[in-house]
């Protein structure tokens, strides 16, 4: 079902989502009526202990799994569980993923990783190459564009993964523990980058995390336990200010643009 687009609609909506897995004769209920919304430009942190159901929820929101019941709307399109063949098209159009393990293609350079994602999404040829270069530039890796993932640091790999997630300009970014494999300083840079991208480009960002530093960039923190949302609160501005976020080193072009913006605001 297509929901009529409105200028203020949420890019992600979940209502009463349940997920039950079968393990032999047993049924294991992982999600029990979960509700969540993410608005454009909003950053939501989803926190919860291991086994709380947050990765399953992320998979459902990312159209990788279908819910047992409940309603999922991604960028205005309601997910129809009876039509799983439609899910790849929604993923392709509306969702960008960032994974804990980066999941880059080791045989492709940083630039090619992004370009390949664009090609999958239907942007080919010179246009694909130009957009990939822009995305790599946007995450400050222009000078590492032709490096293979094995020659990049953890933080640089995650930047490539973010550039790949941005490919095709999806309105929703889903990140699974994006800072888990990074040290505090590099993790801070990545979070700064996320914040910039979400705010500047008005993308809805859901970050599944254990990392308390993520709160520093989150507009809302949603806590999940045993498959239920136990709290969904706006993050206090004080808490946000208390967290030191390292300014992400962007490319010279983007740095200049940011300086101009700051000057304008002041």
């Amino acid at each position: 079902m297509q929901i009529a687009p409105s200028p203020h609609r949420n890019v992600l909506e979940a209502q009463g989502v349940t997920k039950v897995f079968r393990e032999g004769r047993e049924e294991v209920s992982v999600l029990n009526g979960v509700d969540l919304t993410v608005a454009p430009g909003e950053i939501v942190a989803l926190e919860g202990p291991s086994g709380s159901g947050k990765t399953t929820f992320l998979s459902i929101l990312g159209c990788i799994l279908t819910p047992t019941s409940g309603r999922i709307v991604v960028d205005g399109e309601e997910i129809d569980a009876s039509r799983p063949a439609r899910l790849p098209a929604i993923r392709k159009r509306s969702i960008g993923f960032v994974f804990q393990q980066y999941n880059l293609f080791p045989a492709l350079t940083a630039l090619e990783n992004v370009e390949y994602a664009l090609n999958i999404k239907g942007t080919n040829g010179r246009q694909g190459r130009r957009q990939a270069e822009a995305a790599i530039d946007q995450v400050g890796l222009a000078d590492r564009a032709h490096f293979l993932p094995r020659d990049l640091s953890g933080g640089q790999k995650q930047r490539v993964a973010i550039a790949r997630a941005l490919a095709g300009k999806p309105p929703v970014l889903l990140a699974d523990e994006p800072t888990a494999n990074l040290d505090t300083a590099v993790g801070g840079q990545i979070l700064g980058l996320f914040r910039d991208l979400a705010k500047r480009e008005n993308r809805g960002l859901l970050i599944v995390t254990h990392d308390p530093n993520v709160r520093a960039i989150a507009d809302r923190v949603v806590k999940i336990r045993d498959g239920r949302i136990i709290s969904d609160l706006p993050e206090a501005p004080v808490a946000r200010l208390a967290m030191p976020i390292v300014e992400a080193p962007l490319s010279p072009r983007h740095s200049a643009r940011r300086s101009r913006r700051k000057e304008k605001l002041s």
Partner: protein, 375 residues
């Protein structure tokens, strides 16, 4: 578009080399086995292919050119009188014994004709003048005889069926299917050496047609006039001679079996390496799905890998078969690989490699994209 299939192959160099080596091995095996088979079969009809006769008149039910038996030589006159026949000549083909200098006896296949030059046989002459054959007890012996008869030179004598015969010339590439060396003697000398049983008898009548004559009509007329003989066109006779050896020796079955095993080895190697590669890249394929790719996108990657392995493996296998040809020639084995056959092997290689990729297709079709979230 970044070619993920090619990049993956270049990234996993060792596995790619193994895959390509497996394909190349199978291709080489098929080329060498079939090439040798065609080379040996070529020997079964090599004289038929070179003799400038449009029709062959044989004794009834002669199975192949080597196993000839006689009929009255005067029948050639009846053939010569048929309209459309430009010329006809008796040809004697006989296995005769040759006594070696050490006293051992070996068999050789002897061709007897009155005018060899006119019929274009032998076709490769290293030394000697065929016209001299009529002057006495002389013969041209093929160079391949050295493997069985020992070294010989023009001017040497050998004892054939108890007669001293001088070697006057040396030919090349004239081998029978049975690997018996070929010798070329004057028609009447062969009759003399063969003894009473071939006295006044011939084994074949070679027929050259006049330009524009209808081979089928002339053959029909010959059949009418020589009801106790068979008549074949050159192509049919060559086919019958080759077919005899394929059917009677098991060489055909052996060839098919080896080709089958070669293909099987190739498919198993490619299947195994592609499958292992797929399993190692399973998370990458999961990522392809997670970023919106479909099974078709992944099939394209795997299919491309199979095609790349097939193309490079085919080229390597073809080159290896080329490289082996001179070594085979050293031991008098011909490797014949017609272009059409190479084309068939290329298509077969592609089909088999893509078939091998099907096992991996099955695996990736069931990939759970959620695996991308697993550490």
């Amino acid at each position: 578009m970044p070619n993920l299939a090619l990049k993956n192959l270049l990234h996993d160099k060792l596995r790619s080399v193994m895959t390509i080596a497996g394909v190349a091995f199978a291709v080489t095996l098929v080329f060498v086995q079939v090439g040798l088979f065609l080379g040996i079969l070529d020997n079964a009809s090599v004289t038929i292919d070179h003799i400038a006769a449009d029709l062959w008149v044989t004794s009834r039910n002669t199975p192949n050119v080597d196993f000839a038996h006689g009929f009255p030589e005067t029948r050639v006159q009846r053939v010569r009188s048929i309209p459309g026949v430009a010329r006809a000549a008796n040809l004697l083909v006989q296995f005769l014994n040759l006594t070696l200098p050490d006293g051992a006896e070996e068999g050789m296949l002897v061709y007897g004709l009155e005018d060899f030059k006119r019929w274009g046989i032998p076709w490769k002459i290293d030394s000697g003048d065929l016209a001299d054959l009529k002057r006495g007890d002389y013969m041209f012996l093929d160079a391949s005889a050295e493997r069985r008869f020992g070294p010989f030179a023009v001017g040497d004598y050998r004892e054939v069926m108890g007669y001293r015969v001088k070697i006057l010339g040396r030919t090349r590439d004239a081998l029978s299917f049975t690997t018996s060396p070929l010798a070329f003697l004057d028609y009447s000398l062969v009759q003399k050496l063969a003894g009473e049983r071939m006295d006044g008898r011939s084994t074949y009548i070679l027929v050259k047609l006049e330009p524009g004559a209808d081979p089928a009509a002339v053959a029909a007329e010959i059949r009418q006039r020589l009801p106790w003989n068979d008549v074949y066109t050159r192509a049919d006779w060559a086919k019958r001679s080759r077919g005899y050896w394929v059917a009677s020796t098991g060489i055909g079955l052996n060839m098919y079996l080896t080709v089958f095993l070669g293909c099987l080895v190739g498919v198993v190697v490619v299947t195994q390496t592609l499958y292992t590669s797929t399993m190692e890249h399973i998370k990458e394929f999961g990522t392809v799905k997670a970023i919106g790719g479909s099974n078709r996108d992944i099939y394209r990657i795997l299919g491309s890998q199979a095609v790349i392995a097939a193309v490079i493996g085919f080229v390597a296998g073809r080159l290896m078969a080329f490289a082996l040809a001179p070594a085979m020639a050293e031991i008098r084995l011909k490797l014949i690989i017609p272009t059409e056959f190479a084309g068939i092997v290329f298509v077969g290689t592609l089909v088999l490699c893509l078939t091998a990729a099907l096992v991996s297709f099955r695996k990736v079709s069931k990939i759970d994209p959620a695996l991308v979230f697993r550490a």
